[in-house]
Amino acid sequence: MNLRLRQLDLRIQTGEGLYGTRIKFENGLVLLRANNSMGKSTCIQAIIYALGLEKMLGPSNSIPLPHVMTRYVEDGLREIPVLESEVLLEIENHKGERLAIKRSVVGERDTRLVTTWDGAKITNPTASVPQRDYFVRDPGAAQSESGFSRKLAEFLGWQLPTVRRFNGTECPLYLEAICPLFIVEQKHGWSGIQANLPTFFGIRDMAKRTVEFVLNLDAARVGEERQQIEQEETDLRNRWKNLLSIVAANMRQVNGRVTGLPEQPSAQWPLSVAPALEVFQSQIWVGIADVLATDKGELASLDVTPVETAGAASGAAEAQLNAARQMLSQRETLSGELLQNLQREEYQQQATETRLSSLRDDLRHNKDALKLKSFGSNAGWALIEHTCPTCQQKIADTLLPQVAAENPMSIEENITFIENQIKTFEHLKENSVTLIARKKSELASFRAEIGGLQSQIRALRQTLVAPNSAPSVEAVRQRLDLESRIRSLERAALEFEELLENFSEIATAWRSLVERKRSLPSDGFTSTDKAKLDRLQTLLREQLREFGFDSLNPETLDISRETYRPTREGFDLGFDLSASDNIRTIWAYLQGLLELAHETPMNHFGLLIFDEPRQQEAEELSFVNLLKRAARAGQRGQQVVFATSEPLASIQGMTAGLNPQIVNFDGRVIVKHS
């Protein structure tokens, strides 16, 4: 998982001969020294260019190299036009394999093509090694077989993770997104950690994803697994809900209901109390088995007696008709009341719903306000201390007119206040949901009963007007009714038994899901992850102390578990820092990653390139300490390359005893080949 630079050649063909430069790189600290605007940055940019990573310098398709590589070479006061130019770079991986890369800048060759040799073709031009062309910059360079990014990832032994983009598609985590953690170029690189992130790729949470990949955290996998589980949970919930509504629909047909089935999937199956089927009869709920038994008994007793004739039945029918009419009007009144009741309850529920949604909105506002309060206090806003920023008078924490302002609650109190209200209203809502469901099924039973009474009345009337010798219509109706009721009750019970199988199946799946969920680390981080982040935090604080970071106490800085960046009380450092402390933070963070990569398996080049790390005139003392720390890279088999314009003597003084490789250019870096 390693990449070392071995040799960089810049070759520029002009009408007046070959110009260029050659730099050999050893392990450990390498210092490229030259005065300003003599071509150091050209070398760093050329390395980026050779690796096909120029998209980390911006979305433009133009060649990210200065005029010396593209238009004219300066020699003394003369400007000599460039005819052809190319960059050659040789790198080595953790297995000691070499890869030679040649990329043309000006000339006939397409600049999107990169020629590579699987061997040390640049340090040893006579070597006979396989050559192959790859393309860069085109979409697909990271995925396609002949894309250079993919070749490079293979050479490093990396498996680039797939990430989501804002437009909903997926793509590999491009090397250009990862490399700002290893290479800091001079122009924009020092404005912050990962300042050169190619945001135009539209990758979601790109900064976080890259650090996650480089640190090789399990958190990404855990996060994916959690998402997967949530998805399956939703599926199971929906299936459970569908089953419930099928059961309810089946039971409605027989004026029945199911009790004891949980609303949500249950991991416990069979349930400790078996679900029961009940039928609404004469204003109470009766178990289906009892209803069936009574009905069957009644039918049996009817079966043994012959059907009455209308004449015989007429006496009783008169009385029955009266009773049935009375019952009907009573039931109609009751169902009317129930309907009104139900509508009131539904209206109530709707109101509760509206109230809940506005409470939730307000809760979110309050939580945001709390976060903003600590954000503002970090930024030093006066009004967070309840002081007017202009006149320094005391003000209340409100945007209502100050004169009328009562004493508002603190935001924390306010949040508790709203949360309690939400709890109450949610309780209300739950109650009213159950109440409505119960009322609905009662109403349905009433209606069915009314239907039954109406047909009974019809039959009784027919019995009364029929010839005496004809069979009593009411008696026949009663039997038919009873028979069909028994049939449908039995069918409903049978269907329910069958559906229980499905419930059991979901419950099993739910149980295994619950177990899978339980096995995930609760905060999303495995213990290895935590150890890595803790260690990175230690390395960061340790270096910041060494580098003389003084905007804040380094001990108050953490590596955020959300963004993996240095934060203080949950906020990015950003504008809390002086410019030079910002630079120190970048040094410490990136070098922390490099050092950590030696201690634990990570996806790191094992290489760090800083172009002009002594930006913003960070004091000499801290720069010396940076050099000291960086020089240890050699012992770890890593490589740290700094391009700097410090005077040679001062560099030699600062690195005395550190034994770095100093590549010094007294004049221009790019000169005529002798």
């Binding site: 506005s358 909105d361 506002h365 903003l372 806003w381 924490d397 409100t398 609650m409």
Partner: protein, 158 residues
């Protein structure tokens, strides 16, 4: 009557309790929103009426949805109710006092460098004003001063 009178004739006192306040009436919340509105505006500046309109559009999920529907051409103008809230003006004053924004040519509110810094930081902070950020990002291309002016002048004619 007498026993009732004696019942209430006991010494009593009032204790002032703090009153709850809607979260969007906290200065910090609203300044955060202002920073974001300006951050997502062209040139990091906006007129007072744009600020008022987007402020009221951001007010709740329903208003945000209504505004988005309007931006997509799926809603009529009268479905957008833009309110002029005095609280926004107070928040703007506070923000100006904090040196986060300045008034440009007496017309536009513009982020100062400090304000821009804070806005950028806020934009990066996760889990804070997320719904508002997403909304502002989506309406950015639509929320031009011209379109705002059109909505506003229409509102004034009714």
């Amino acid at each position: 009557m007498e026993p009732l009178k004696s019942d209430i004739e006991i010494p009593f006192r009032f204790t002032e309790r703090p009153t709850p306040l809607a979260g969007d009436l906290r200065p910090a919340w609203r300044i955060g929103l202002i920073l974001l509105i300006l951050f997502y505006s062209r040139g990091q500046k906006a007129t007072l009426q744009k600020l008022h309109l987007l402020n009221s559009a951001c007010c709740s999920n329903a208003t945000r949805q209504a505004y988005l529907r309007y931006a997509r051409g799926e809603a009529r103008k009268d479905e957008i109710i833009s309110r002029i809230e005095p609280s926004l003006n107070r928040a703007l004053n506070f923000a100006r006092g904090e040196g986060l924004l300045e008034i440009e040519k007496g017309k536009n509110m513009k982020l100062t460098p400090a304000g821009l810094n804070a806005a950028r930081e806020l934009d990066r902070t996760t889990d804070c004003l997320d719904a508002e950020k997403a909304f502002l990002k989506t309406v950015k291309p639509f929320a031009t001063e011209g379109n705002i002016e059109e909505l506003f002048s229409w509102n004034l004619t009714i």
